[in-house]
Amino acid sequence: MLLVDDEDDFRTTLANRLKLRKIDITDVASGSEAIELVRQKSFDVAIIDVKMPGIDGIETLKQIKQLQPDIEIVMLTGHASIESGMEAMKLGAYDYVMKPCDIDELLIKTGEAYQNKLLKEKEK
């Protein structure tokens, strides 16, 4: 799994918590790093923050989807609103979670996203 967020404290802590829950997670601090990483390696699910300096979450989502179409993406929105989340969903994200997020909610949604990916692979 891939976690993309520019806020270091938030990202490392969340990554630690997910690792504690036996999830294989790689964390990067920017959209460009994430795109670079996806070029080298494939991921099942990516969690991407919408608001980031440089390449923002929506742009990252588009490029990652282009590189690896079967990747499922859950967006993190800091807007406390659903507009950006919905925009991301229109662009192919599986779901969105509002910040500050509950770890369980995030786990449920990423779990669903992963299941969905497996389902799609099975259909193939």
Partner: protein, 558 residues
């Protein structure tokens, strides 16, 4: 409020001013027209009456002059064609009297007077034979002038009359033929001169101002009429006495010895003018009324409209200022929300991480474990509180950007369907669209409605959990739209139905939901002017109804 009152006062004042101005502008020409018309008309009528009076007076003067001359000539012919001796005989005089009466009417009696002034022969109704006239004024006059017409006098008969006398000298001896004229005959001429039925008078005065001829018993009394000097022709004059206006025409006759006066009461003659006056006055009153009423109605309408426009302008300006201020507050709020939201997320994660670490074996045995764990839970709880505050702030900030657009509800639900279909499919839930195709579009904020639909459908998916059907139904209703979202979930007892729109009420396990979804949806729909209701039966499922009127957006209020 005071601004509106000021505005009302200003327009009321202006309206009064306009009403008065229009009033006068309409009134002045009306008054001028009415006044001049009446003045010229009455002057013309008066002039006409005056001319008519003058004409009649001239006519009467000529007639009477002619009459007197004619009678004098007639007498002269009689005197010069018969001798004194012939006429001295009573039967001859009677014959001549009757003969001349045929030609010259108005002869009352006839007599022959000798050189000494004794009436030697007389025919007529009185016994005047042998009367001595030697001292009479008229006898002196005729002896001098040959032909004489006297003023009116009483004489022996003690009845007002006047005479015409002719002197003839026969064989060197003068004698006189004399006739009496019936003054009623002249009076008759005079009275036919009167124009109207009443208010008029006609009489003849001697040079001394003594009544000679008149319709009543004023004869031989002294008049207070101011005698004018002798003039030729006719003179007209307007006289006022006793509050009356009298038109008066005068003419000298009988060799300027008698003054004929004809008087006409002007007001009596102008009687028909009262009718004209009343008509003009009535037209004036009616026109004034029409002017007053129409002026008031028109100004009232115009000013009501003007005031309404001004008020709307004022309100619009206030609204603009208000929404400007709101936009500024909104910007500030969303800025703050963004800045606080990120640290809040970090705090939540750190607390979560601390909580995670506390579950490690060695820490769990620490005596302070429970306190520490409770602290992390408290931090999480308060972060959630902060999140709600920010959420509300953001919600408020967004209120200004409420897009009021024509929204196709079917299109919005299509999007909802697309967003959630994957999730539903994953749980083996069929998300079905049952749309009415030609749905009227609604003026509202599509994004906010989308949030409501997603909330409700998400709830439905969670309620069903696995295997079921969710139907998205749209229907035109009263020009608006009714959206129904029906699920085949477990349904809810009435007790829960009553509470589902309360904030923080949730049936989900702790940590699974905030309990805000439906209450937020409810307040969004209410704010937009619609209604959100629920219908549910345990074991069968739940239907949410969203009623949206044709125009469906929130009014900005502060």
């Amino acid at each position: 409020m005071t601004k509106e009152k000021d505005l009302h006062g200003y327009y009321t004042g202006l309206r009064t001013k306009f009403t008065v101005i229009i009033f006068f502008i309409a009134f002045i020409p009306l008054m001028l027209l009415g006044g001049t018309t009446y003045y010229y008309y009455s002057t013309t009528v008066k002039e006409k009456i005056k001319n008519e009076l003058k004409l009649i007076t001239k006519n009467r003067k000529d007639t009477i002059d002619l009459f007197l001359n004619d009678r004098a000539n007639c007498l002269s012919v009689l005197a010069y064609t018969h001798s004194f001796d012939f006429l001295e005989k009573k039967e001859n005089l009677l014959n001549s009297f009757h003969l001349s009466k045929r030609v010259c009417s108005a002869f009352q009696d006839m007599g022959i007077i000798n050189n000494d002034g004794e009436q030697v022969a007389y025919v007529g109704p009185y016994h005047l034979t042998g009367k001595q006239y030697g001292t009479a004024e008229w006898f002196q006059e005729v002896m001098e002038k040959d032909v004489y017409i006297s003023d009116v006098f009483l004489g022996f008969r003690q009845v007002p009359h006047f005479i015409i006398a002719v002197k003839r000298i026969e064989n060197g001896k003068p004698w006189i033929l004399r006739v009496t004229i019936d003054i009623n005959r002249i009076n008759h001429f005079m009275s036919t001169a009167l124009l109207g039925k009443g208010g008029s008078d006609a009489y003849i005065l001697s040079r001394e101002g003594i009544y000679q001829i008149s319709g009543d018993d004023r004869i031989l009394t002294k008049s207070d009429f101011e005698m004018p000097p002798v003039f030729q022709g006719i003179k007209g004059k307007e006289k006022h006495y006793g509050g009356k206006t009298v038109l008066c025409a005068k003419a000298w006759l009988k060799n300027n010895e008698w003054l004929m006066v004809i008087e006409q009461d002007l007001e009596h003659e102008l009687g028909p003018m009262v009718h004209v006056k009343n008509t003009v006055f009535l037209i004036f009153i009616v026109s004034s009324l029409i002017i007053v009423i129409s002026t008031m109605l028109i100004t009232k309408r115009v000013f009501a409209r003007l005031e309404k426009i001004a008020l709307e302008k004022l309100q619009l300006r206030e609204q603009l200022v208000r929404s400007d201020r709101l936009a500024a507050i909104g910007k500030l709020a969303s800025g703050i929300a963004h800045e606080i939201n990120n640290p809040l997320a970090v705090i939540a994660e750190k607390a979560g991480w601390m909580g995670d670490l506390l579950t490690e074996e060695d820490v769990k045995n620490s005596p302070n474990y429970s306190e520490l764990f409770k602290s992390t839970q408290d931090i999480k709880k308060h972060v959630q509180r902060g999140k709600k505050v920010i959420s509300r702030l953001m919600g408020f900030a967004r209120k200004d950007d409420v897009a009021q657009k024509d929204v196709d509800i079917n299109f919005v639900l299509d999007e909802t369907h697309d967003f959630l279909n994957k999730k539903a499919m994953f749980k083996n839930i069929a998300l079905m669209k049952e749309f009415q195709p030609d749905l009227p579009s609604i003026v509202t904020d599509g994004a906010q409605l989308q949030q409501v639909f997603i909330n409700i459908v998400n709830n439905a998916i969670d309620a069903i959990n696995k295997d079921g059907v969710i139907r998205l139904i749209t229907k035109a209703q009263d020009g608006g739209v009714l959206v129904s979202i029906a699920d085949t979930g477990p349904g809810m007892p009435e007790k829960i139905q009553k509470k589902i729109f309360d904030p923080f009420f949730t049936t989900k396990a702790v940590g699974q939901g905030t309990g805000l979804g439906l209450s937020t949806s409810y307040s969004i729909v209410e704010n937009l002017g619609g209604r959100l209701t629920v219908e549910s039966e345990v074991g069968k499922g739940t239907i949410f109804h969203i009623t949206l009127p044709p125009t469906c957006f929130q009014e900005t209020e502060v």
